[in-house]
Symmetry: C2
Subunit: 451 residues, 2 copies
């Protein structure tokens, strides 16, 4: 038979089993943590009508989208989880209870130019809280605190959540009479980390900002002293512009609540240079950076918006949300060697090796081990003993159980821990408690281990 060469499309992540098991552990931590904060899991189709998905239209999105005709239908694959959420909330408005809290972990599609670390199919992990007409500012502090909790559960420690407030920026530019140019100025400011203050000042002047304004902008965005220091410095700007005043007050409230939510002071900071796109976000905005890998940019971003679904409904639906680019984050963790290999991801806790022809006793033992919550495999293939031990080794299965004539006759279990070579023969209960003690020790490890 003529064979077709098997291949996976470029830009599509497909992992080997042990890697995939690590990815799944991360997804499971996300699901469990999000659930702890009272979010509904949501699932929406990957395919939608193109006109619905592209209601907002325009831009990069439209060029990258996977769009095609099937019969009479013009279909497209979703390119993010926000547009489907907007559609869902508008469509089901009458059936939902607000504030509506949902998380969604799902694949999205963008036909980007293929390059290292860029994916055309990738997971996003989003959380959003949507209000009906109004939404309390508490939510703007809770969202980043969920990210802190999630990253901590994963084992990440060296990260910082940077927050800003769009009202602070908008008010500040209003005050300077630069509202019309805010977009250009923000783009320039964004280069501060890369090119330094002097170069930013030069560009601002070239763009027609006058010298006094440029100095004012640079003074403002380089305010220092940590969260408390910046908030104190911002007090001096109060009373000059209403929007700015509102923004400063919101920033102070959010910072205070984040502490109550358990985010340590060294894991978040105010960064007045963050804007996150100019036409969608209206209040608090977030970015999250890995301290040792600033070059990869924000791994988790979002913010407060006033109108989730304005393309579908007249209802005012303000919300706040954040998104983890899970596939890209995983790629980076893998690339930077931050995924824990100890204990390695194994598909089973115990491997039973039947030493008799009739496998009934070995099978019954597997059934009993599984009833105790021990993930168990049976190895019944006709292979040499050494090959079977090597199988356990390769799959990082920590315990091997031998089931031979003696064990069957004496109702005993012979258990070997591969890492230590320690082998014991005892009753079923003793084997279970030995395995469970070992697993409890292993379960303490996190998925991510830094430096």
């Amino acid at each position: 038979m003529q064979k077709m060469k098997p291949r996976t499309l470029s830009g599509f992540m497909e992992l080997l089993p042990a890697r995939q098991a690590q990815f799944e552990k991360i997804a499971q931590v996300l699901r469990e943590t999000y659930a702890l904060y009272g979010f509904y899991p949501l699932d929406t189709p990957i395919l939608e009508a193109s006109e619905v998905l592209l209601a907002k239209g325009g831009g990069e999105t439209e060029k990258q989208i996977y769009r095609f005709q099937k019969g009479d239908s013009d279909l497209a694959m979703r390119f993010d989880l926000t547009v489907p959420l907007a559609k869902y909330v508008a469509l089901n408005y009458g059936a939902l209870t607000f504030p509506f809290r949902r998380f969604q972990i799902g694949k999205v599609y963008r036909g980007e130019r293929a390059q290292r670390g860029r994916f055309r199919e990738f997971y996003q992990a989003d959380i959003d809280v949507i209000g009906d007409g109004a939404l309390d500012i508490m939510n703007e502090a809770e969202i980043p605190s969920i990210i802190y909790k999630t990253f901590s559960e994963l084992g990440l420690e060296r990260f910082k959540i940077r927050i800003n407030n769009r009202k602070v920026l908008n008010g500040f530019f209003e005050m300077l009479g630069l509202t019309g140019r805010a977009s250009d100025v923000m783009r320039t400011i964004d280069k501060l980390d890369k090119i330094g203050a002097d170069a930013v000042r030069d560009i601002l002047l070239e763009e027609g900002v006058d010298a006094a304004q440029a100095d004012e902008i640079l003074r403002f965005i380089t305010l220092g002293g940590g969260t408390d220091g910046i908030l104190q410095a911002l007090e001096r700007y109060k009373g000059k512009n209403e929007t700015l005043d509102a923004g400063i007050s919101e920033l102070a409230t959010v910072a205070g609540y984040m502490t109550a939510f358990g985010v340590p002071a060294d894991h978040f900071e105010i960064d007045l240079t963050i804007a996150r796109g100019l036409d969608y976000y209206t209040g608090t905005v977030y970015e999250t950076t890995l301290l040792d890998h600033p070059e990869i940019g924000s791994v988790c971003s979002g913010g407060r918006y006033d109108n989730l679904a304005e393309y579908y409904t007249d209802k005012k639906l303000p919300g706040v949300g954040i998104s983890i680019g899970l596939t890209r984050l995983f790629y980076v963790l893998q690339d930077k060697n931050l995924l824990s290999e100890n204990p390695p991801a194994s598909p089973a806790d115990a491997l039973i090796l039947p030493m008799t022809d009739d496998m009934g006793a070995a099978i019954a033992l597997a059934t009993r081990l599984r009833a105790e919550g021990i993930r168990t495999q049976l190895h019944c293939e006709k292979k040499k003993f050494k090959a079977k031990i090597s199988y356990a080794d390769k799959l990082a299965i920590p315990y091997v159980v031998f089931m031979g004539e003696d064990e069957i006759a004496n109702h005993t279990v012979t258990l070997k821990e591969l890492a230590t070579g320690e082998q014991t023969t005892g009753d079923f209960a003793a084997a279970v408690s030995r395995i469970q003690a070992g697993l409890a020790e292993r379960a303490r490890g996190k998925v991510i281990v830094e430096g």
Copy 2:
């Protein structure tokens, strides 16, 4: 602004939040149960190169597939999880350890004619064990026992796993000299339940099977007496055809091992009419029916095959697998009112109502409750008290926690259980243990409740 009417494509399941939470519970039970049997979780792209996905080609599949051009690429959305598995195993053969055990729960796409209960995007939940050159028959007994365990964990009780062996059928037809017509005969036999033995006999005769053969076929496929009875009756057929002998022996072995795997005798039966397509399966085959809903057909099917990936590789990769049509099963459970509403699916265990302007204390309480594993929401919106209680009611959140001046001053927590109206004020530890006791009681409920 001109609004776009939001809509979801027909044939695409999109659930309201409480329903989706039930779906997720089912998916979680599947993931946990499959893991207990030592399967790796696998994830493969939804999009593949069309030539790779359609290597086998032809038939219904090609007509239903979502296939399109993007740039220079001819792409298609996967229509099952078996072809991507075959591609994966062929592609990664050198990096995998065999037997390779994987489960995959993922969406697949088929552009079927839209009709009630039929979906164009649906989840399949597959488990497969793939051997390298050979695979022990133990696996053919373990696979259905996993389905028994999974369905039982979900709360399903009234179901039966029906097993057969393709060697029994092939050998029997060989013995009758009907090998060339086996396909037609099997199609006719399959109608037995619907049209009865006499009508089946008539059709067989019309198809040119002679009367003695037709009687022999009918006698064979209506053998009764339960698993033991049928196995005993099959003994009489032994010695006439080698393939038949092998099949009968395998059927007996699988039935015996299934008992060792803990499947009760009343939850499986031998059904000699099951064939499951003539060119793929080669050994044990399975179907699973809900006893009270036979009209929906098999909800979980699969079997033993000899060549998983023959379109991609010369390697002989025998395997055994089974697939649950999860979206369709969920639709049926919903339709037949088999999804438990007690306790209803709630996104949180506790809702905190702050009764003071500063929410710091309420937020700190939420953080402490979450640290105890209690899924907690804060309701900070400017709403009347009654509206907030109604919010908890609608979301089926069982406990409401009031945080007012008194509670803050006295370091107490006031806790109300909505179902009973019982309200207590005490310390934090007392509140936690009251909530946890209630949740433990609720956790005993299964997702599915029959009759």
